[in-house]
């Protein structure tokens, strides 16, 4: 800052500054509190109503079941924070997984995995260029990509699936066993990705720029932020995350299936929205998404165990989505005076 010598600084302003717990408090601020409360409430209810829900094995199963959509949703979060949307993320992941499955059948698994990353980066990059460089609407671009890539995956495989036998490709389904409970490497990877992306969003200039671009694109551009470059970086980063999701999927279900995960795009959006990220951009974060993905899995797992018709799981998920959107709407209209 280049201003003149300081006058007396407002004590209240500086008091805030001494607060060392700021980072944690910000994390658990109002954007995560709601989803966290919903998750805890769901766990308590299922814990009281079924005898099998609240055991360590089942809780680790819930985490394991969340990793594929949960990882996809991390990438989706970045894009939604910029006020975009990605309808093609599931299709990108499936295409990458069948490419990996095919190449690994007779070849080197590591090279196959690298090819999968390349598929994701090229497809995500294509989305990014169309959206950032040519300013096309994300909904339409990714809707088109969804259609194209789903077809390409089927043409590429002739609608057949590939069994996965490579240790490298299924390693994420193995894990550390502590006291009879297994935490898979896939879960650890999911937590790690959440931490890295959470750090990037909250502790780096890039993160501030992502939020600013989603919040007020004009203001961001006026301050000198290179909006198009930020958008492209977001779509590319999300694409790398999708490659991790493809690897997660191969570990979870050791089959590369072109017809699998057909609703993963909407499932990932559901997790993001339930996690408290605003579809209008600029508000939310990956920790909320992590919790959102867990909530969706907890509902499916708990209702099945309670012997309740699975259709109610869709009802419950839908109600949570509407509540989350309503809360977001309330927050935005109350504060935009």
């Amino acid at each position: 800052m280049t201003s003149a010598p300081p006058r007396e600084i407002d004590a209240a302003l500086l008091e805030q500054e001494e607060d060392r717990g700021g980072g944690v408090r910000a994390l658990l601020g109002n954007q995560v509190a709601g989803p966290l409360a919903a998750l805890v409430l769901a766990i308590i209810i299922f814990g009281l109503t079924t005898s099998t829900f609240l055991n360590a094995g089942n809780l680790s199963l819930i985490a394991t079941q969340s990793v594929v959509v949960g990882t996809l949703a991390l990438g989706q979060t970045l894009i939604i924070l910029t006020a975009g949307i990605d309808l093609a993320n599931g299709a990108i992941m499936v295409l990458a997984s069948v490419v990996i499955g095919n190449l690994a059948t007779d070849g080197n698994a590591l090279l196959a995995l690298a090819a999968g990353v390349l598929v994701c980066v090229v497809m995500g990059g294509l989305n990014g260029v169309l959206i950032a460089r040519f300013s096309l609407p994300p909904f339409i671009v990714t809707l088109g990509m969804l259609s194209v890539l789903s077809a390409v995956a089927r043409l590429y495989t002739d609608s057949q699936s590939y069994p996965i036998n490579s240790d490298l490709l299924t390693v994420l389904n193995r894990g550390l066993t502590v006291g009879g409970v297994t935490i898979t490497y896939g879960v650890l990877l999911w937590i790690g990705l959440t931490a890295v992306l959470g750090y990037a969003l909250t502790q780096t200039a890039w993160g501030s720029h992502v939020y600013a671009v989603g919040d007020n694109r004009v203001a961001a551009a006026l301050t000198g932020i290179k909006v198009k470059r930020v958008l492209l970086s977001v779509y590319l980063t999300a694409a790398v995350v999708y490659a991790f999701a493809a690897w997660q999927a191969l570990g979870r279900t050791p089959t590369a299936d072109p017809s699998g995960y057909a609703t993963a795009n909407l499932d990932s959006i559901t997790a993001v929205v339930i996690g408290g990220t605003s579809l209008f951009g600029g508000r939310g974060g990956v920790v909320g998404t992590f919790i959102g993905a867990l909530i969706v899995t907890v509902l499916a797992n708990g209702l099945t165990q309670a012997g309740i018709d699975s259709l109610y799981q869709q009802v419950a998920t839908g109600v949570l989505v509407v509540i989350a959107v309503a809360v977001d709407h309330f927050v935005r209209t109350r504060q935009t005076r």
Binding site: T2, P6, E17, G22, A200, A219, G224, G282, T336
Partner: protein
């Protein structure tokens, strides 16, 4: 003429047959608030765009602190120490005050945390923004407040604080009070005076004559793509200024100051 912080000579800009600037001059002295007034279509905004790098003039020269400059983009003007507050609220409402003040100019931690892990120095930025807000006498509860929790006047104050923090030579404000109520407008006008007290000259573009006469040290009257007069509020009435601005009265009838067309 080196006493001018910002100076333009003979600026011309044509769009086809339309002459947006016609041999236009401009001077800004150190530590003053210079208002720029003109009727709609007089070409004020083209002049301001030329001074902030958004428009490249066909002919003419611009100098900052006596050094001639060639602005090819808004970034060039910014590098020369010229910062602009725009009419539309140029803030990101979901971000907090500190993030807004430092947007695009974030500070990183020293050492490996900053160079490799790109970690922001949030403590230092909070300290800087608290000091900046105090310097300008802007009162908020906390610099961690999200901008959307502020009133319209406070938001514009944040935009002004941001610009004043980074400007090294000139602050330009394009209709900064157009969207505000009376009380909030007064807050922003006080802020503009505070910026001047802190040593930065201000260019204020406004349609609001009472505001202009309240804070300006000199008034640049723009008409038909050029400066036709510069007057001082102490020696000129609002009616006279408006009459000259609209062509109802000739500029020669006024007591002018600081050069003519």
């Amino acid at each position: 003429m080196t006493e001018h912080v910002l100076e333009a000579r003979g600026l011309t800009k044509r769009y086809g047959h339309v002459v947006a600037m016609d041999d236009c001059h401009f001077d800004l002295r150190p530590g003053e608030i210079l208002a720029v007034i003109g009727d709609n279509g007089a070409g004020k905004s083209t002049l301001i765009k030329a001074l902030t790098g958004a428009v490249i003039p066909d002919t003419g020269s611009i100098s900052v602190n006596g050094q001639e400059v060639q602005f090819r983009s808004p970034l060039d003007a910014r590098r020369a120490g010229i910062e602009t507050v725009y009419q539309e609220l140029g803030v990101a409402p979901a971000l907090d005050i500190t993030q807004n003040l430092y947007l695009g100019r974030e500070q990183r931690r020293k050492g490996i945390l900053g160079s490799v892990f790109r970690k922001l120095d949030k403590a230092s930025m909070r300290h800087g923004s608290a000091r900046q807000m105090a310097d300008l006498g802007i009162r908020v509860q906390s610099i961690r407040q999200k901008v959307e929790t502020l009133s319209g006047g406070q938001r514009q104050a944040v935009a002004v604080a941001r610009v004043a923090a980074w400007a090294t030579s000139v602050v330009i404000m394009d209709e900064p009070t157009a969207a505000l109520g009376v009380r909030e407008t007064n807050q922003v006008l006080k802020l503009i005076e505070r910026v001047r007290e802190n040593g930065l000259p201000v260019v204020l573009i406004s349609h609001n004559m009472p505001n202009v006469f309240q804070v300006a040290d000199r008034i640049h009257i723009h008409r038909l793509g050029r400066r036709i007069a510069v007057v001082e509020p102490a020696h000129t009435t609002m009616e006279e200024a408006v009459a000259v601005m609209t062509g109802a009265k000739s500029p020669e009838s006024l007591q002018t100051d600081g050069g003519t067309a």
